[in-house]
Structures are given as C-alpha cells and as structure tokens.
Amino acid sequence: MWHRRPRLNSWRLTLLLAASGLSASAVAVADEPEPSDDVLTVYLHDHGDAIAERFTEDTGIEAQIVDMSGGEILARIEAERANPQWDVVYVQGHGSVHRLYETGQLLDDGWQPEAAANYTEMGRQIYEQDPETAWWPVTVNAPALLVYNPDYVDAEDVTSWDALHDPQFEGRVGMPDPAISGPAYPYVSWFFEDDMDAGYAFWEKVFDNGVRMYRSNSPVAEALAAGDIWIAGLEEPNTYGEVEKDERIEVVYPEEGTPGAARAVGISADTEVADDAKAFIEWMLSAETQQYLTEIEHRNKYFVPLIEGAEPNDLLPPNQFLDQVTPYEFTDYEWAGEVEAEIKRWFSDMAQ
C-alpha cells in the first residue's frame, strides 16, 4: 500500500498556479528542484508509519516513508539508478541489499553505526562476515515456513519441502511472486544455493504441480485459510499472525531446514542527507527501537531483535515443535546477490 509523502503536498498548488497561467509553464515549474531534496526518504516495506512517527519523535528528523513491497522497492531502486530518489532502503533479503552495495549503489564512506557493537549473537552471525560492508541487518526471520491447511492435508503428508511438488496437492500449492514480494526471493533462492541445477529442477517440479503464484504473502495466507490452496511456503511473521487469529494453518519445520534472511538497511550513495540517514540507522539499531518494533500493533508484528537489550515478543515461537528461535539457515548473501537477476528472471518467465 502507498503512503503519501508530505513533500508532494505542494505540487497541487503549483499545478493550480501553473494552470491559471500558461501550459508552457508546466515544464518550467517542474524543472525547479523540489524542496524535498533534503528530507530523508526511506524505501521500506511494512509498518512505515509507525517507524516514521517514532523516529521523528525521537530524533526531530523529518522522514518520508515510501512503503512498497520488497520486490517493488528493489525494482524501483534499479529504475532510479540514473537519478536515485531514496536515501535509505530497508528491505527483506540481505542478499539483495548486498548486491546494491556491490554495485556501488550504497554509501560506503567507512562509517559504521555505534550500535553495531551491540549485535546479538544472531546479528553478529551475519554482520561479522564482513564488518566493513555498508549495510546492516535489523532483524531476521524466515522468508518462508512450510505451512498447510489441516482441513485438507494430513500432517504426515507434509514433512519436507518436497511436499510442494507432491502430486496429491496438484493445483493446491501457493507461493508469493519473487518479482514482487520481498521475502519470496530469499525463499526461492535458498533452494539454489548448493546446486543451481537442483534449484531449477526443484522449482520446475513445483511449477509442474500447478503452483499458484500470488502477489505477496498476505493473499497466500488468505488463500490458505480459505482452502483455495492447501500448502505453501509462507513468510514467518504472516504465518504467526494467521496462527494467532486461529486460522486453519499448521507449520512444519522440515529436517532440511528453514531458510532465514535478514531485513537489512543501507544508505544511498547519492544521498544528500547522509547524516540524517546515519541517524536513522543508528536509531533502527538502538535497543529502544528494536524493543519498540517488537511491540507495535501490526498485522505481522513478529519481530526478532538483533540488538542486545531488546526482548523478543511473546509471539515467538508459537509452534509446538519449537521452544526457541527458528533454526534459520542463512544463504551466502554474496552469492544470493549475484544470482538474483538470473533467478528472478527465470521465475518471471516460468510464471505464465
């Protein structure tokens, strides 16, 4: 869903002024640099309003939030490469964020947030692979858990990810579209990590099984609850949200593991408000903010803090099989960034 940035309020006024004059002035008016250039613009997915409000409250810095799905954020950043409009990106899939870093799109001036010293063990697991990189994990979760609707599926039939191409579920398998959904890419790419060909083979079988592709995770969850589909890979916060609502959803943590990915944050190399952007990152990585993020009321309020001093919320973990944080298996983020275009293109070509 879109939210309006305050900077665009002025344009309608300009329009009316231009309208009363000559049409020719349209281009001229548009040529003026927008006053918004020095307002921090953050591209992110989910609870943007809550973040912006609290951030401004805490720091006095005005922030404009552009809330799009993860895939859309990455595509828009690509599309704006000639002339980036964003200052900070905060998106699921640290492999994709690392790709931005590798291609020189992130600000890399040697700065590291002080809060990086306070990463939890899980945070350090990602951060310390290369503490020099100019992006930072904020939280982690599973981009997909293996879930099913117990009204249609027996528990013993779903023990591994292979259930996605089990012929008995033909036409009743769902997944989010990696082109649009942020978590979908870390999810699907996880299957390619050891062996690209194995990944293609696996997903080809899933496609042959008549997988239904949805725009994002929410419609997957709704379709699963409604019985339109019976089995799916569903993002972790979504899953727990549905479970909490008592929808008919069961979770499986299969033996081969559950993919894990970080939501990561980085600064645009073209930013003109680097200080504000750094303040934002420092703020995001503060224990208070992390605590706040575990508490905000939201559809998907499941939030795993990565900074010492913040307590996980009580949604974690709700499943009878687990009494601990999900055993995430993180992909190699450098690899994930490199093959992103290839895998996403393959999916968009398959998904017809």
């Binding site: 879109w2 690509e78 275009a341």
Partner: protein, 583 residues
C-alpha cells in the same frame, strides 16, 4: 455624420514591431516545440535505447541488439508476442463482427430497445478498460456472478483465450459499431435504387453495391479494434491475479517494475508494439485511400426502417447482448461493492456498506489518491486543451510551414498506446544528464501530467478541430482588420465560438486521465497514490469489496464533476452556446 473625416489617426507603424516574426509563426514554432517535447523526444528515446541500451545512465555505447532475439528465444516474451497477436486478431474478427452486426441491425430494422445500443456503445467506450476487465474477473471467478446464475461454465470459459477474446470483443465492439454506423449512415439509397432500376435483384444489390461500398469501412473498423486491443493495458492488469496470460503491454510493465529491471527490454517490446500498430494503421490508410469513400458523404437521407416480423427475436438478441456487454462486468462490480465477502455471494446477510465506509474513512488511501488523480487529470486536461486548441487553430487557419509537422505528430500519437508513451517518458525523463542539470520531471507528478496530456492531445486536437473548422476564417480576418492582434482574435472570437468543443475535449481528457492505468502505473512517483493504481492494487490483492467500492465512488465523483462543469460553463457563457448554431 461623416465616418472618415473626423480625427483620422495615423497608426504608428513602428518598424521594429512590424519586423518581428509574425505571432502566428511564433505560435507555430511554440506548438511544434511543445509537441517535440511531449511526444517526439520520448518516442525518440525509445528508438535510441534500442541502439544504446544504457543511454539513460549516460553511457553512449552501441548495444549488440541481442535483446531482439529474446523475442523468440525467451519464453515469456515469445508467449507475450504470440498471445498479443492471438488476442488482437481474435478480437479484431469477433469484435468487428459484433460491432458491425449490431450496427447493421440497428440501421436496417426498427425494434424496441434498439436505441439502447447507441447508449451502450458510448458507455462501454468511455469506461476504462481495466474497470470493465475487473468486472469480468469478478463475474467469472469461482463464487462470482456466473456461478451464482448457474452458469459456472461461462465463468470458466472467460479464463481462456476464447474467453478473453470475448471479453475484449465486448469491451472494444463500440469502435467497430460507431465506425460502421457512420458508414451506414452515409449509405446512399439512390445508389441502390439505381441498381434496382438497372435490373439487379435485392440480393445482387447487396453483393454488388452495398458490400463493396461498405467493405472499406468494415475493414478499417476492424483495424481500429485491432489497434485498440493490442495496446490495451487494462485487461492484462485485471486478469493477471487470476489467469496468467502474458501480453506485451503487461510484460513491458514487468520489465520496468520488477528485478531485473530492463529499460532496454521495455524499449524492445514497446517498439514491437508500435510496429504492430504501425502496420495496422498503414493498411488502414491504404484501404481508405483506395476506398473513394468521399462521395458517400453526399445525398444521405434518413432511411425509413421497417419493423420486421421477427422483431421479438432482435429485441431478445439485443437485450442478451447488452446484458453481457454492460451488466455482466459492471453490474457484477457494482454488486460486489456491497458484499461483505466476495466468495459468499449475493445474499441478503452478505450485503453491507462496510466497503464504502472503509474506502471513505479517514486515513483511507483513496482520499489522497483522488486529490492526486483529479489534480493530474486537471493539469493534463489544461495542457492538452491548450496545445490541442492552438494546434487546431494552426491546422485550420495557418499557412505555417510547421502545419504538416503538427498534423503528423498529433495524428501519430493517436496510434501510440499509452504504455509505449509511458516507456518513452521513463527513458527520456529518467536520464542522468537531465538530473545533473537539475531537471527533475521523472518521479514527480509532472511526468504523469505531461504524459497524460501528450496521450490526450490527438483527441483534443480532433475534437477541437471539428469545432474550429466550422468558424470561417473571415471571422478572424475581420477581427484582425478591426485592430485585434492574434491573441485578442483567439480570445474574443475563436474561443467563444468553439467553447462547446473545448469543453467537451477538456472533459473527455479529464475523464480519461483520471482512470489511465497504463500511464500512472508506469510513471507514478514513489509515495504518490493515484486512483487507477490503488484500485488495481486492491484488486490484485483480492480486496474486491474495497476496489469496487472505490471504483463506484470515483466514477460517481468524476461524472458529477463533468456534469457540474458542463452546467456551470453553459450557464456562465450562455450567449456563446445560444449562438453556436448560427452562421
């Protein structure tokens, strides 16, 4: 009493002013330059990116053109091209048959409900295609109207190639209907009567006189349908969430809006689309040139249409058809807007106004979206109107050398699908050097305003030109000799006399721009909600109640803006409208 002897003022013929370029030729240059900026440069940018794929980054390296091979090697592209061709050809045939058939019945026979066809044709024509397509999706989905009416097969049929052809045909039949009606309207009875007197039977008259005379109109109506179908963005957008059927316009969007982003890929597909349209238009021009249809315009007389004995059959056919074309999609949309849960169907306990409350409640994204979209449409209408009016002035009256350029540019744009124009706008306005110069149009609402205006200029020019052409040049010459300069002449003589046309053109551009999904979806700046995009988003995320309620509200508001504006303008300038018909 002498008119000439008192106070003869010698006008000051200040040489400087007299030596400046004529205002008319300045106007010509201004309009030509505006068209270059609005249409020429964006389309040129597409062509340039075919050769220099990274031009937008400022990298002037010749590409290797291997993207063109993707047209047949890459499955998605190949399928999209094939699908677009199948759908467009299918729709061309079926839509033309429906449109021309309805026109023939309407103009040959008299039967109750016949007049409704005209209404339906215009109604469907002005309805944005994505809204019609959304209606069809809701109609056909499991649990939709088709199922509830006990026709699940009809629902399932819709999500297939023949089904899409039917949907497209029902959405695009008005083009064929109106074009063919015009031809039938001018059909000269005396030509047939002469043939009868020369000894031809009624059947022979149809074969040897009627058909040859109507064939060019039929074929050009068909091509109109083809062009409109191949560039349509609304149908693939609406059907995507339910039935994946890749079509070129939607793949273009995908190339630009999903990773891996490929502007050059979009440019290739856009040029393929333009090539298809160009071929079709070329054929049409050929057909019209050889048709010699000019002489058909004379001697037409209202024809006395008989009421045949089988009129109940015609009425039944007509009602079924109209039910399918209008009620099935739009009636479904309307009903869904009152449903609590779409899948629960149309039952009493499932009826609710909650969707409307949600759409109109505080914090609803519809409200800022409406402000934005109406603002965009207003700006686009003003620009298109100003450019269209001045271009029409030049086309009608001026001997400017740029006349031909203006004519061609404004006509060519008519055939360029909105999605292609939008790609051109991205490729042109998103260039690094423009940003370095501080020219920021891309990623601001202005880019939508300008693109919507550019897409609407051809229509504005044609509508206004129709009115301007009725004002004799002597009206302006006489004003000129009364001492009125160019702007005064235009303001005091031409504008009042063409006000009705300006009003129609402006409102038409306004209405289309409010709902232009292709352009807004491609050019929408980040964090700037617009009506078509949020409706499309809600629809694709299966929030049908919200999407349909928003559609109903926006349609009602747009309609009332149009009606109110018409009323106010006619009231304020009553004398201009009263005199419209004289002279």
């Amino acid at each position: 009493m002498s008119a000439s002897t008192d106070t003869r003022r010698t006008p000051r013929l200040t040489g400087v002013i007299a030596r400046l370029p004529k205002p008319e030729s300045l106007l010509g240059w201004f309009i030509a330059a505006t068209l270059v900026v609005l249409v020429g440069l964006p389309l040129a940018a597409i062509l340039l990116h075919l050769a220099y794929p990274q031009l937008y980054l400022g990298i002037f390296d010749l590409g290797d053109f291997d993207l063109f091979t993707d047209l047949w090697e890459r499955r998605l592209w190949r399928t999209a091209v094939q699908n677009s061709l199948y759908l467009s050809f299918g729709t061309m045939v079926i839509g033309t048959l429906i449109g021309a058939g309805m026109a023939y019945l309407r103009h040959t026979y008299r039967f109750p409900t016949a007049g409704l066809i005209d209404f339906a044709a215009w109604f469907v024509l002005v309805m944005p295609s994505f809204i019609i397509a959304q209606g069809w999706v809701l109609f056909g989905r499991s649990g939709g109207t088709a199922h509830q009416m006990g026709m699940p097969w009809l629902g399932e049929f819709i999500f297939s190639l023949p089904g899409l052809v039917m949907v497209m045909s029902l959405a695009n039949f008005p083009l064929a209907y109106l074009a063919f009606s015009a031809a039938l309207h001018w059909n000269v009875r005396s030509l047939e009567q002469a043939a009868r007197l020369a000894g031809a039977t009624s059947a022979q008259v149809v074969r040897t006189i009627k058909l040859p005379l109507l064939l060019p109109a039929l074929l050009s109506a068909a091509i109109l349908v083809f062009v409109d179908t191949v560039g349509d963005f609304g149908l693939p957008a609406a059907f995507l969430s339910v039935f994946r059927f890749p079509l070129i316009p939607y793949v273009i969007r995908q190339e630009i809006q999903t990773v891996p982003v490929s502007f050059e890929g979009a440019a290739v597909l856009a040029s393929v689309l333009v090539a298809m349209v160009a071929i079709a238009i070329t054929i049409q021009i050929r057909l019209l040139r050889n048709a010699g249809a000019d002489f058909l315009t004379g001697g037409a007389r209202p024809v006395d249409r008989p009421r045949p004995r089988f009129w109940p059959l015609l009425t039944g056919l007509n009602v079924t058809f109209l039910g399918l074309a209008i009620f099935a999609p739009l009636g479904t949309s309307l009903s869904v807007s009152f449903l609590q849960r779409y899948s629960a169907g149309f039952t009493l306990e499932n009826l609710t106004l909650l969707n409307y409350r949600a759409v109109l409640s505080e914090g609803s994204v519809l409200l800022p979206a409406m402000a934005n979209s109406f603002g965009i449409a207003f700006g686009a209408a003003l620009i298109a109107l100003a450019v269209g009016f001045l271009a029409a002035y030049l086309l009608a009256y001026s001997g400017s050398r740029l006349r031909r350029f203006i004519d061609i540019t404004s006509t060519v744009t008519l055939a360029v699908p909105g999605i292609v124009l939008a790609v051109g706008y991205i490729l042109w306005w998103n260039q690094r050097w423009l940003a370095d110069w501080g020219i920021q149009v891309y990623n601001t609402p202005w880019v939508i305003v300008l693109c919507s205006a550019a897409a609407s200029i051809p229509i504005a020019v044609r509508v206004v030109l129709g009115n301007v052409a009725q004002v004799p040049k002597s009206f302006l010459n006489s004003a000129s000799l009364q001492g009125a300069g160019l702007w005064t002449r235009i303001r005091t003589v031409l504008m009042p006399l063409t006000l009705a046309g300006l009003l129609s053109a402006g409102l038409a551009v306004f209405a289309t721009s409010v709902f232009d999904l292709a352009i807004t979806t491609m050019l929408q700046p980040s964090g700037f909600p617009t009506i078509p995009v949020i409706i499309d988003e809600h629809f694709r995320t299966v929030q049908y109640g919200w999407a349909t309620a928003a559609t109903v509200i926006v349609c009602l508001i747009t309609a009332s803006i149009i009606v109110t504006t018409r009323f106010l303008v006619k009231r304020l300038f009553r004398q201009y409208f009263a005199t419209g018909g004289s002279q």
